[in-house]
C-alpha cells in the first residue's frame, strides 16, 4: 500500500503535514509497515532530487529529522518485530576522532547514510579509540566511519587502524575515513578500506565496500 500524500509531504519537508498524516493514518488503523513504506518512498524521492541537484542538504537533514519524529509517533502502534521491517542495508558506527570537536561533516555523512537505508550509530565527537573498539565488539557493525578535521587529530585514524588489528577485529569491519586533511593517499597509507571526499561520496563508498 502506498499513501501518496504522506510520501509527498515528507519529500517536501512539510513537517506539520507529515506528522498530522502519520497520526491520522495510525489512528485509523493503517498498518505501520504501510506508513513506513510511504515515508521511505518520500525520503528516496528526495534523495533522487538531491542527486539531480534539485534538492539540497538542509532539506535532506530536515526530512531526516521529520522521519525520526514519525518513528516516535508510530512507536505505540508497532507490533512486536515491526522494527525489523525498516530494512537496514547495514550497520555503521560513526565518530569524530579523539581531540577533534568538529561534527558538521560527520553529521552530514550520518544523515546521508541514514537516508540511504543504513542503521547509523553516531558516537559524536572527541571519541577515544578504546570506546570505538568497545562499540565494535558490542554492536558488530559492518562499517566504521572515522572523521577528522585537523592535521593534528588525523593521526588518531592511524592509531585506530593499529588498535583494530591489535584486537583482532580488522577482518570483521570495514573502515572509511574522511575529513578536510584526509585523502585517498592517507586512507591507503593507514590501510583503511575507503576514503569519503564528502557526504555523498562517503555514502557511495560505503555502498561499494559492502557490495
Amino acid at each position: 500500500m502506498k499513501i501518496q500524500d504522506l510520501t509527498k509531504a515528507i519529500s517536501e519537508c512539510n513537517q506539520e503535514e507529515t506528522l498530522k498524516l502519520v497520526s491520522g493514518y495510525a489512528n485509523k488503523g493503517v498498518g505501520v509497515n504501510a506508513i513506513l513504506d510511504s515515508l521511505s518512498q518520500g525520503l528516496k524521492d528526495l534523495g533522487e532530487k538531491f542527486s539531480c541537484g534539485e534538492a539540497f542538504i538542509p532539506e535532506l537533514v530536515f526530512a531526516g529529522e521529520i522521519f525520526k519524529e514519525t518513528v516516535k509517533i508510530l512507536g505505540p502502534y508497532m507490533p512486536k518485530g515491526a522494527e525489523a521491517h525498516i530494512k537496514s542495508k547495514g550497520k555503521v558506527v560513526i565518530a569524530t576522532v579523539k581531540g577533534d570537536l568538529h561534527d558538521i561533516g560527520k553529521n552530514l555523512v550520518s544523515t546521508f547514510l541514514s537516508l540511504g537505508g543504513y542503521e547509523v550509530i553516531d558516537l559524536g565527537i572527541d571519541v577515544p579509540n578504546e570506546k570505538l573498539i568497545q562499540v565494535i565488539q558490542d554492536e558488530k557493525p559492518n562499517v566504521v566511519g572515522l572523521s577528522s578535521l585537523l592535521t593534528t587529530t588525523m593521526l588518531g585514524q592511524r592509531q585506530f587502524m593499529a588498535m583494530l588489528k591489535e584486537k583482532g577485529l580488522r577482518d570483521r569491519v570495514k573502515v572509511i575515513v574522511g575529513g578536510a586533511p584526509v585523502s585517498q593517499a592517507w586512507a591507503d597509507e593507514i590501510g583503511a578500506d575507503a576514503f569519503g571526499a564528502d557526504a555523498v561520496d562517503a555514502k557511495t563508498k560505503v555502498d561499494t565496500i559492502l557490495s
Partner: protein, 492 residues
C-alpha cells in the same frame, strides 16, 4: 526589508551639470535630422528652431522639459504571444539581453573558424534562450541563407517560433518595419489591447556626433506610432566620434538621447522609450571599438545613470567581450559588465552570447553568460534581507543553548534557497573527485555539454500552428520579391 545594493558613479549635482551641458548643446548648435520633412515639421510645430536647408534642429529647454514629463518611467514586458506579463523594465529592475549584431558564428569543434550563420544556428540559439532563466530578452542575428533584404524579418520569425522571451530586434528598411509590424499583430492574436502588452524592443541608433540618418528617423517614428518600445542608442567611439573623456562622451550622448526624447513625444505622447548607450573606448593602438574595456563599461553606466535620474528605462551594450573565444577573458569581461551594470541600474544589458567586438555568436558563451547573469541578479535583485528574521538573534541563542547544528534548524530550511543562489551546472562548486570523475571539464566544455543536452532533451516551445503558418506566409511573400519561393525553415 530587502536592501538592494546600488553604486552611484557621480554625485547628483554632477549629473545635473551633465544634463545642463547637454541642454546648452541642443540649444546652441542643435542636432542634425537628415532628410525627413515630417520630423522637421513636428519639431517646428513644437517651437524648435529648424534650419530646413541643413536639417539642423535647435531645442530650447522648455521643449525638452515638456517631452521629459510624458515619457513613461517603466515599460511592462510580455511574452512573445503578448499574453503573460514577465517584468517591468525601469527603476531598480534590470534584464540581460542577447545580442544580434553578429555577422558570424563560431562552432565549438572549430574555434579557429568563424562562418556565416544560417537557419539552424538561429533555431538552436533561440531554443537555448528559451531555457536561459536569467536572460530576459532574445536578439536574433543576421542569417545568410535568405536574401539580405528580408533577413531582418526572417530572423524575427525564427526567434518567435523557438523562444517566448521578448525580443530586441530591428528592421532595416521601411518595408521591413511594416512587415515586422504585421507580424507582431499576428503574434498578438489580433487582441485589441496589443499596444499595452509590449513584447519587442526596436533599437534606433543616432550617428554620433549629433546626427540622425533618414532610415533611423523613419524607423524611430514608426516605432512610436505603433507603440513599439524604441531605444535611442547612440554608439560613440570616445576619442573618435565623441570626446575622449568619459564625462564628455556622456554629455554628448545625453544630448543625442534628449533629441530622441523630444521627437518621440512629438510623435506619440507617452510613447515607450528607452534611454540607451553603446559608448565604447576607441583603441588608440589598433583602431578598434573596445566593447568590454572598463572605460566602455563605465561610460555606459554613466549614461544610464543620467537616464535613471530623468526617470527613464535605460540600456547599455554591456556583457560583450572582445575575446575571440568563450574563455577566461570572455567570462571576466562579461562579469565586470553585469556586476557594474546591475549596481548602476542599467535596466537592459545587451551583450549575452557574443564574442569579438560583438561580431561572432557563440552558443557556449550564451550558456556561460546565463550563469554570470544569475550571480549579478542575486547581488541586486535578491539583495540583502534586513529584518528580525534575518538577523536571527533568537536562533543564535537557541542553537548555542541546545548545542545544535544550524542545518537542523527550520530557519535554515525556510531561508537557504532565497539566501543562496543555487548555481550550476556550468559553475563548478563540486569536489575534486567529482571534477575528476566528470572528465576534468572546463567551463567551456561544460557549456557545450549543457546546450547539447538542452537541444537533445527539451522539446521546442509549443506554437499555434495557424499563427506559425500566417507568419511564414507574410515573410515568404517578401522573400518572393527577391527570388525565393520557399523559406529555408519550410524545407527542414
Amino acid at each position: 526589508m530587502i536592501i538592494r545594493p546600488k553604486l552611484q558613479l557621480l554625485e547628483e549635482g554632477q549629473i545635473r551639470q551633465i544634463i545642463t551641458d547637454a541642454y546648452h548643446i541642443l540649444d546652441d548648435v542643435g542636432v542634425l535630422f537628415k532628410d525627413n520633412e515630417e520630423c522637421l515639421n513636428l519639431f517646428e510645430g513644437a517651437g524648435a528652431r529648424v534650419d530646413r536647408k541643413t536639417g539642423i534642429v535647435k531645442l530650447s529647454s522648455d521643449i525638452i522639459d515638456r517631452a521629459l514629463q510624458t515619457v513613461p518611467p517603466a515599460i511592462p514586458f510580455y511574452d512573445k504571444d503578448h499574453q503573460n506579463k514577465l517584468f517591468n523594465l525601469g527603476g531598480d529592475d534590470c534584464q540581460i539581453t542577447g545580442d544580434g549584431v553578429a555577422l558570424y558564428i563560431q562552432d565549438y569543434e572549430k574555434p579557429k573558424v568563424k562562418r556565416p550563420p544560417v537557419t539552424q544556428d538561429q533555431i538552436i540559439h533561440s531554443r537555448l534562450h528559451e531555457e536561459c532563466k536569467y536572460i530576459g530578452f532574445t536578439a536574433p542575428f543576421l542569417l545568410t541563407d535568405v536574401p539580405r533584404e528580408i533577413a531582418d524579418n526572417y530572423r524575427f520569425l525564427l526567434d518567435y517560433l523557438y523562444c517566448s522571451h521578448p525580443t530586441y530586434c530591428s528592421a532595416w528598411s521601411k518595408e521591413g518595419f511594416d512587415t515586422m509590424d504585421e507580424m507582431i499583430k499576428i503574434m498578438g492574436g489580433g487582441v485589441t489591447d496589443l499596444e499595452m502588452k509590449p513584447a519587442h524592443v526596436h533599437p534606433n541608433d543616432p550617428s554620433s556626433p549629433l546626427h540622425w540618418s533618414p532610415v533611423v528617423i523613419q524607423n524611430f517614428m514608426d516605432c512610436l506610432r505603433t507603440n513599439l518600445p524604441a531605444v535611442v542608442l547612440p554608439i560613440p567611439l570616445a576619442g573618435a566620434t565623441s570626446p575622449v573623456t568619459m564625462v564628455g562622451t556622456t554629455v554628448q550622448t545625453t544630448a543625442e538621447n534628449l533629441s530622441g526624447v523630444v521627437l518621440s513625444q512629438l510623435v506619440r505622447k507617452g510613447g515607450f522609450l528607452i534611454w540607451g548607450s553603446g559608448a565604447t573606448a576607441f583603441d588608440m593602438r589598433t583602431g578598434t571599438a573596445i566593447q568590454s574595456a572598463i572605460e566602455s563599461i563605465m561610460m555606459m553606466c554613466l549614461v544610464a545613470q543620467v537616464g535613471n535620474y530623468l526617470k527613464m528605462p535605460t540600456l547599455g551594450n554591456l556583457g560583450r567581450t572582445d575575446s575571440k573565444l568563450p574563455d577566461e577573458q570572455g567570462s571576466f569581461e562579461t562579469s565586470n559588465a553585469y556586476i557594474l551594470g546591475y549596481l548602476c541600474r542599467v535596466n537592459m544589458m545587451r551583450g549575452a552570447g557574443i564574442l569579438e567586438y560583438a561580431s561572432v555568436i557563440n552558443h557556449e558563451k550564451l550558456m556561460i553568460d546565463n550563469e554570470i547573469a544569475g550571480q549579478a541578479q542575486r547581488l541586486v535583485n535578491g539583495g540583502i534581507e534586513f529584518s528580525e528574521e534575518s538577523r536571527a538573534v533568537d536562533l543564535i541563542k537557541e542553537m548555542f543553548t541546545k548545542n545544535q547544528s544550524y542545518l537542523r534548524a527550520k530557519h535554515t530550511l525556510l531561508n537557504f534557497r532565497k539566501e543562496f543562489l543555487m548555481t550550476g551546472p556550468i559553475i563548478d562548486r563540486g569536489t575534486r573527485t567529482a571534477f575528476e570523475e566528470g572528465g576534468y571539464k572546463s567551463a567551456r566544455e561544460k557549456a557545450h555539454d549543457v546546450w547539447k543536452k538542452i537541444i537533445a532533451e527539451k522539446p521546442p516551445r509549443p506554437i499555434d500552428e495557424k499563427k506559425k503558418q500566417a507568419l511564414i506566409e507574410v515573410v515568404r511573400k517578401r522573400a518572393k520579391k527577391y527570388g525565393d519561393d520557399q523559406l529555408p525553415i519550410e524545407k527542414m
